[in-house]
Amino acid sequence: MSKKILIVDDEPSIVISLEFLMEQKGFALKVARTGEEAMQIIHEFMPDLVLLDVMLPNKNGFEICQYVRSTPELAAMKIILLTAKGRKQDIEKGLAIGADAYITKPFSTKNLVETVQNMLEK
């Protein structure tokens, strides 16, 4: 059974690019465009990995990450923060609240795909 990935982003173009990249590697996908939507899908879909933007309507990526980390049944879920917030303090904050990786936009597609694959093979 293929691994499941949830893409959370509100930029349509970026979502399209991520969908293409992940589908190409054979992952099962779902997309959420707002924070609240993401929270819902996380429970229903139980993805193995979440590609999570930070600046989202309703609920930002940090909050979602924190929620996942504080919920026992979601413990195995991997989280990659994928955001245009590139300041040092943002990166530190992201890793501190439990993200498995922090990738700044614009990202290298090769690098992103490798990171995702490594994380899911373990």
Partner: protein
Amino acid sequence: MLPNWLVFIISLLYLGILFAIAYYADWRADNDKSIINNPYIYALSLAVYCTAWTFYGSVGRAASTGWGFLPVYIGPTIIAPLWLLVIRKIIRISKQQHITSIADFISSRYGKSTFLGGLVAIIAVVGIIPYISLQLKAISSSYSILTTFMNNSVATANSSNSFFEDTAFYISILLATFAILFGTRHLDASERHEGLVAAIAFESIIKLVAFLFVGLFVTYFLYGGLGDIFSQARRLPDFERFFTINQASGVNWDEWVWITLLSLLAVMFLPRQFHMAVVENTNEKHIEKAIWLFPLYLFLINLFVLPIAVAGLLHFPGNTVDADTFVLALPLTEGHRWIALFVFIGGLSAATSMVIVATISLSIMVSNNIVMPILLRVKSMHISRINDLTWILLMIRRGSIIVLVLWAYFYFRVIAEYYTLVSIGLISFTAAAQFAPAIIGGIFWRGGTRNGALAGLIAGSLVWAFTLPTPFAAEAGLLPDSILTEGLFGISLLRPYQFLGLEGMDPISSSLFWSLLFNIGLYVIVSFSSRASVLEHSQAAMFVKAPWHSANDGRYQLWRGTSSIEVLESLLTRFIGEQSTKKAFFQYAQDHKTDWEKHNEVDQDFISYTEQLLTGAIGAASARVVIASVVKEEPFSVEEMMNILNETQQAISQKKVLEKKSQELEKATADLMKANTRLRELDRLKDDFVATVTHELRTPLTSVRAFAEILHDNPDLRSDQKHNFLNIIIKESERLTRLINQVLDLQKVESKTMELELTDVQMDKVVTEAFEACSQLAEERKVICKTDLPLHVPRVPADRDRLMQVMLNLISNGIKFSKVGAGKVVVKIKVKKEHLQIDVTDNGIGINKKDQQVIFEKFRQINDPDLGKPAGSGLGLTITQKIIEFHQGTLWVKSAPEKGSTFSFTLPINRQEDKTVASN
């Protein structure tokens, strides 16, 4: 008894030794080989404090009151350490200002006031004369005891003799001679007399040795030591009271405290003490040793007072012999006449030293502060015609010495018979204590004024005169008794011993209390309520800050004047003699490297120097008058006074300016802090702005990069997919370009560097054009666009491209936010009197009140969960608003949730153009 001639010869011999010592010391001083320039001589010379009162009177007082004799010595011992503060300061001031007496000191401090100086001199003379007469009495009675003592009894005092048969008279004449020879040998600016000091120090040694000798003789020869005396003393009926202090013993603690206070003032401000401690001081360092040497001397001279007193009481029961004479009577009655003679010499030394120094110090005051001012005033014309004034000055000095001694002698013959040694001494002490407030206040408090000092001194001395000398005179029968019992003019509050109703205090304590109370009270109150003259101000400043002053800034120059060297030289020669003048001028020339040949016109500094020299000779007040008479240009011309006043005013206004400046500074600091906070806030905002801009730039860039990489890595993509991805890249690149342009625009409007290219703009045409540009977007979103334009729209001066930008922004916003599916955007132009108003209305979801405030801020976008993220950077409205503001218009929004929004802005119509149109 001893034969009269022998005692007389011995006395003369002793005085001869004094003359010799004084002469030798003066001779050494003339050759610059001072023998008195050391702290031991200085401390010994201060022991002039111990007079015949100490020598004879202490034993007398101890015999009647036990410990009661002590406070007079405790006071000086307590105050001695403070001399480092007080006396040292007074010495510095006096050296700087050439002050030679206590009267001059006070007069000088309070603006060189002639009147004040005279007053102090009078108080000093009136207060001290009885004290001098007391010494004469002591000499006289000791002399008669020595020559008439027989079988435990003394012949009655020989006051009935005519004065030419009285030894005391001849001794007085001798003392006056001594004082004249060694106190007025020459006129000197510093008024220092080394011979005098040497002789006084010698006398201090003699009286101490004599007293210790008789003490040892009585204690260890007549009795078997101290233990023996006091064990025998237990036989005395009232032995206990010797060692207790209470009402019964005649001395209580109150009195102890008051007399201690009194004597600690007297030891500094008695004229003779002031003279020895201040005027004759050669080096202020000597004080450091004197502050323990002098108390040590007092301790030693009091060591055997009680044993002698007790021995006397044991020897002469039943008051057959006056206790004041025990020191003489004890050796005499035991047949040791030579010891008695030695004791007599000791007493003589105590008495003569006091008489000599007191007379000299008083004569300086009398001549400088009373006679000279009167002469200068009354006969100034006459005085100015005399070429050599030195001899006149010396004659005044010498004459006043003779008058003072004779006055004292007369006083002794008439009044002093009635009193014991101690009481008259304390009366004089109380008089001297009146100088304390003006002096101590004068050197530590700038605020003390001449009027304050005058009021205090007058009140204090009047209270003193009424509460001490007056009742004594009444008791002596010189004044009616009724003053004592009923009070002055029958007013019971004015009874000297119960002054103002205060009872239960001994006369001395009561008088000291009241006189000091009035003195200090009036000094302070009047000082506060009176104004000081300019000269007073400068003198006050000078006195108060004296210890930190170097000798050079000592002379305050309060007046300008010119004079020539010849004039000043002849003037000075008249007062202090040719030799002293030449010496002084030579000294000055050396110190200041001045060549008199070249500089005939003398400067201000030199005039001050001359005045200082004169001050030493004739007192500060007189010196001022004399100098003023020869220096051209009035010392206090109106102009000069105005200058001084101006300077003062300038100083005051400068102070005000300073105060204002400091207030401004405080305000500036507060402003700076505010600005700093604001800056930090701005810095944070800038930081946020940069973060936001980069975030906004990264987002389209992410898509561009991602799809470029995808296209690159997947050459075999389907062509429709390829087309789709390339489209996204193009769109995102356009977005990036737009964003960069907007950021640049924003930078321009925010730094106010945007330049408008003004042309006459047809606003209706701009609206139509903008609609055309947005038609594609409107079609995509299925939004109906309408315009509502009047027939004639006046041209407005504006930058057409910018206005187009504004319209595009508002219309595309309207399209984006209008009702989904049934959107409608209307643009309306209204022509008002002075401006155009353009309304852009949509039928969208509206904006709530809170959000209306923030939509014009940078990067503020209102996110709607249903609609997702709105397109655009969030800079559009900010820039739009700024552009409108650049055109002197305003932009605002009217909206309510679910009721659509209307963005309106105004543009001023160029009225000048309208006018030209109208005139055409």
